[in-house]
């Protein structure tokens, strides 16, 4: 959880964050101000996340990525001359410039080498481009330390993300309109409305549990039908910045979680076997490979091959 130290907002910060303080309030800004966030993976999606978090005024952002910056990346934080360097080192200057008040830290190690102690030092962990096993591992560690965990990825025009906020308490402002007649020099209806605050609790599930769901159950089959049309299509690009807008839903429900995970597993499996994402240049053979993977997964899940139309791979 966010450190309970007494946080004050300076005048400079008040001026910078004015427009957002007016939205989420000073209290929320103070909590952001105390938050230490870990961001794993700095591709296109990671860059977008880094930008948004840095602008919001968190305490610190640690960028963890062992990969090397390449040309044609959707990570807009890397100047051309930094191609060839490690991605986080290549992006550091531009991230820092977004908000000098945030501590930007870099770590070039491979995430697989990081142990429990490393993750426990953060208030929130955001991961991108993680292999499924790593997501499961880190999610479990975060759970143990009550750290909210996000993991997402982008595939061309679509993407997904997984969220585990453990036992999440939040409040909602519900508006009840109440028309009253106020005195004015003409009879004028003004509409002050009553807002009341309602508290809720959402219980999230760990990623591991999603894999353990039984896909052949009736409930899951129905969910499958419903979401089939939402599933991502396969266009072979990495439009990180634009696509991020469409990353999909919070996976609070077990059934949906399992299905999304299984479908995206196909793409992730492709990536781990082929060491790259499906691409336009190899359109035919990649589609064939995806179909093969699909068949394999569906067989494992004891589901009909028909359930995932190869048309989605177009």
């Amino acid at each position: 959880m966010v450190a309970k130290e007494e946080v004050t907002i300076s005048e400079a910060e008040a001026a910078l964050y004015d427009r957002q303080i007016r939205l989420w309030g000073l209290e929320a800004q103070k909590r952001l101000r105390a938050a230490r966030v870990l961001l794993i993976g700095l591709g296109g999606l990671g860059a977008e996340i880094a930008k948004n978090l840095t602008l919001s005024g968190i305490k610190s952002l640690t960028l963890l990525d062992h990969s090397v910056a390449v040309a044609n990346s959707a990570n807009f934080l890397i100047p051309l001359e930094n191609v060839g360097k490690n991605v986080v080192e290549a992006s550091l200057e531009r991230v820092q410039r977004l908000n000098p008040m945030v501590d930007i830290l870099t770590d070039t190690e491979n995430v697989t080498a990081k142990n429990e102690d490393f993750f426990s030092g953060f208030d929130v962990v955001c991961a991108t481009r993680l292999p499924v096993e790593e997501s499961i591992r880190i999610n479990a560690i975060c759970r143990k330390h009550s750290i909210p965990f996000y993991s997402g990825d982008v595939f061309g025009f679509g993407g997904f993300f997984f969220v585990d906020l453990l036992e999440h308490e939040y409040s909602e402002e519900v508006t009840v309109p109440a028309a009253t007649l106020k005195d004015g020099c003409t009879a004028k209806k003004s509409d002050p409305s009553e807002t009341k605050t309602v508290k809720h609790t959402l219980n999230y599930i760990p990623l591991q549990a999603a894999f353990e769901a039984d896909p052949s159950s009736q409930l899951n089959k129905r969910s499958w039908q419903r979401i089939k049309s939402h599933f991502i299509t396969m266009k072979s690009t990495d439009l990180g910045s634009t696509t991020v807008a469409f990353v999909s839903l919070a996976l609070a429900s077990l059934a949906l979680a399992s299905l999304y995970v299984d479908l995206t597993t196909g793409l992730l499996m492709f990536r781990s076997q082929m060491k790259r994402d499906p691409e336009a240049a190899n359109r035919q053979s990649d589609i064939a490979k995806l179909c093969e993977i699909r068949d394999h997964i569906l067989h494992e899940m004891k589901l009909d091959n028909q359930m995932v139309d190869s048309g989605i791979f177009e």
Partner: protein, 628 residues
């Protein structure tokens, strides 16, 4: 550093060959430029009239602290080029409403993308794109909410097809005599600023309104008599001239506005039979108040005590007076600016002093700034999502897949269909749209003997109907020219009233804006008084207009038999995003409560509402709506 390959199809090619106009380089504009530059767009023109402010930096990420004060378009271009130096970006630090940007200019673009924050500009670009027959992607954000939609002549509704909810305005007597809410005091304080230092507007009088219909009666006339006897005559000295007599002595100003004028109001005792009467303040005896406010607040969030208000009033008047003395020539007035410390201090102090007088809860400078400055809260992520959606709509347009274009809503939480990002089919054009229908028509209710030609041009044609260089002819068989867009041709008409040109109930005016390629027929309906003492009302759907007899039934009307002074002028203060004057666009009768939000009818993508049907069904929206 991207040279990203988009899908290897015709789309990729279309993107590469396209020419894009981005109108606005602010919250949405910065994110949009980033997206365009990374998505393979090669030829972009970005235009913005604004300069960078520190409050932009929480989201307009192409700008940094060192850029404050510089042109948004210019710096945005520079930063975006850093993401892909091979793209051609032209930056214009200019208003898109300038005559340079004519229909020919717009025709050069494949798609136009709006990233604006005000209706006037949106309406203008809408017309230019209709005239040029260029697809327009319209968008907007406010807090967590956002919208994107596509506009194409003949294929969808245009920006002006839907009536926009009228701007909130307050009657003059509420502002001048009987405020009951903090906003009334804030509006009054802004008017006071203009009366003392800015461009004086006769609609923004701050002194007690003796013509208040509620005050009519013995007391009022007694007060009038008293004033007459004290002053010797009843001729009005302008507030500014009066202040200059004492060289803006704060104690004198204080005495008039918070003591003498209040006493005057008290003498109009009919006003106070059902209301808490105001308590005049005394300069020598400013009440001290013990603050019971919580700690840990931003300095600006602390509510000032009356003593602190007086302090701030004194220091800000000193600064503002000095500034106005230093002005030379034409620009002899100051313009109120929420980001100017003294201007903001002045309004905070005066509105709170007035609130104190009227026993209205006081507001912190932080809150006053939002209300006085029409601030819309804003964050980076909403703009990022919307900019992404804009590019997706652009892709569909470039692929020629117009039928896939959608009106997309970004909700703050999942809607009834469990969608945070909720697409909805585009509505077809309003057959009676006052802009895009084949023969646009509106009806305007006003008082023909009171409305001057100048007012008609400024407030109705430009202000409400968003024309920029109108030509107006009276449809009287003689081709009488009322207003010409050519400089100097109709100057002598301006101060005359409409009735001087034999414009009366039912007269039609033929209006043309050559620049927007827009023709509009206006039918004038003569009304002596409109509700809320408005100066005019625009009716978008004239067939809905009720006959005159039925309309004049709301609110107290000055009786026609008594000799009445000139009716109160209305005070208009927009509390919406932009500086539009107040206008009602109604699809109903003139009697409708203008503050009622028109229910925006939107269909979910699964609903099968009758597309293209003349009568659009009104139903409650499932999405969080912001008015673009």
């Amino acid at each position: 550093m991207a040279d990203v390959n988009v899908a290897p199809s015709l789309l990729d090619d279309s993107i590469r060959k396209s020419k894009i106009l981005v109108v606005g380089a602010g919250g949405i504009g910065c994110e949009l430029l980033k997206n365009l530059v990374l998505s393979g767009f090669n030829d972009i023109l970005v235009i913005d009239l604004d300069t960078i402010d520190v409050s932009n930096l929480n989201r307009q990420f192409l700008f940094q602290k060192e850029h404050v004060g510089k042109s948004k378009a210019v710096i945005a271009r520079e930063s975006a080029l850093g993401f892909n130096p091979n793209v051609t970006i032209v930056a214009k630090h200019d208003s898109v409403m300038n005559s340079e940007y004519n229909v020919t200019f717009f025709k050069q673009f494949t798609v136009v993308m709006n990233a604006l924050d005000n209706r006037a500009a949106r309406s203008h670009v809408n017309r230019m794109c209709l005239a040029a027959n260029v697809p327009l992607i319209e968008s907007g954000t406010a807090g967590y909410l956002g919208q994107v939609t596509a506009i194409r002549k003949g294929l969808s509704e245009c920006y002006d097809c839907n009536p926009k909810a009228g701007q909130k305005s307050f009657p003059g007597c509420t502002i001048r005599n009987t405020p009951s809410e903090p906003i009334h005091c804030i509006v009054w304080a802004k008017h006071l600023f203009n009366q003392l230092f800015g461009e004086a507007d006769p609609d923004e009088d701050v002194s007690p309104d003796t013509a208040d219909p509620e005050a009519a009666g013995d007391a009022g006339s007694v007060a009038l008599q008293n004033q007459a006897s004290e002053a010797g005559n009843v001729t009005r000295v302008s507030t500014r001239a009066w202040a200059q007599q004492s060289e803006y002595d704060p104690s004198k100003l204080f005495g008039k506005f918070f003591c003498d004028d209040i006493k005057y109001l008290l003498s109009m005792d009919k006003l106070w039979t059902k209301r808490t009467p105001p308590t005049p303040l005394s300069w020598d005896n400013i009440p001290e108040e013990i603050s019971d406010q919580q700690g840990g607040l931003i300095k600006d969030q602390k509510v000032w005590s009356p003593a602190e208000c007086v302090q701030a009033m004194v220091s800000s008047i000193k600064i503002l007076y000095q500034r106005s003395k230093e002005l030379n020539g034409e620009e002899s007035f100051l313009v109120w600016d929420k980001d100017d410390e003294a201007s903001m201090d002045f309004v905070t102090a005066c509105s709170n002093l007035r609130s104190h007088v009227f026993s209205i809860p006081k507001k912190s400078r932080f809150d006053v700034k939002a209300m006085a400055g029409n601030i819309i809260p804003a964050i980076a992520t909403t703009n990022a999502v919307i900019a992404g959606l804009i590019v997706f709509e652009a892709f569909k347009i470039l692929e020629g897949k117009w039928e896939e274009c959608r009106h997309v809503y970004l909700n703050s939480k999942p809607n009834a269909l469990n969608k945070v990002i909720a697409p909805s089919s585009l509505d077809s054009a309003n057959p009676k749209c006052y802009v895009c229908s084949p023969h646009p028509e509106v009806t305007v209710l006003l008082n023909v003997s009171q409305m001057t030609v100048q007012s008609f041009e400024d407030k109705v044609l430009r202000g409400a109907l968003h024309m920029i260089s109108p030509d107006v002819m009276v449809d009287d068989g003689k081709g009488t020219v009322l207003i010409s867009s050519e400089e100097g041709e109709t100057t002598e008409n301006m101060s005359k009233s409409l009735s001087d040109f034999n414009i009366s109930d039912g007269t039609r005016l033929r209006c043309e804006d050559f620049h927007q390629e827009y023709d509009l027929n206006i039918t004038i309906i003569d009304r002596e008084h409109l509700e809320e003492n408005r100066e005019f009302t625009v009716i978008a759907d004239p067939s809905q207009l009720q006959p005159k007899a039925a309309v004049e039934s709301s609110g107290p009307q000055p009786s026609t038999s008594s000799s009445k002074p000139a009716p109160s002028t209305r005070a208009t203060e927009s509390v919406e995003i932009d500086e539009d004057l107040d206008v009602i666009f109604q699809k109903g009768t003139a009697n409708d409560d203008h503050q009622q939000e028109p229910s925006i009818r939107k269909r979910s993508i699964s609903g099968q509402a009758d597309i293209g049907s003349a009568s659009k069904k009104l139903r409650l929206s499932e999405n969080d709506i912001i008015e673009l």
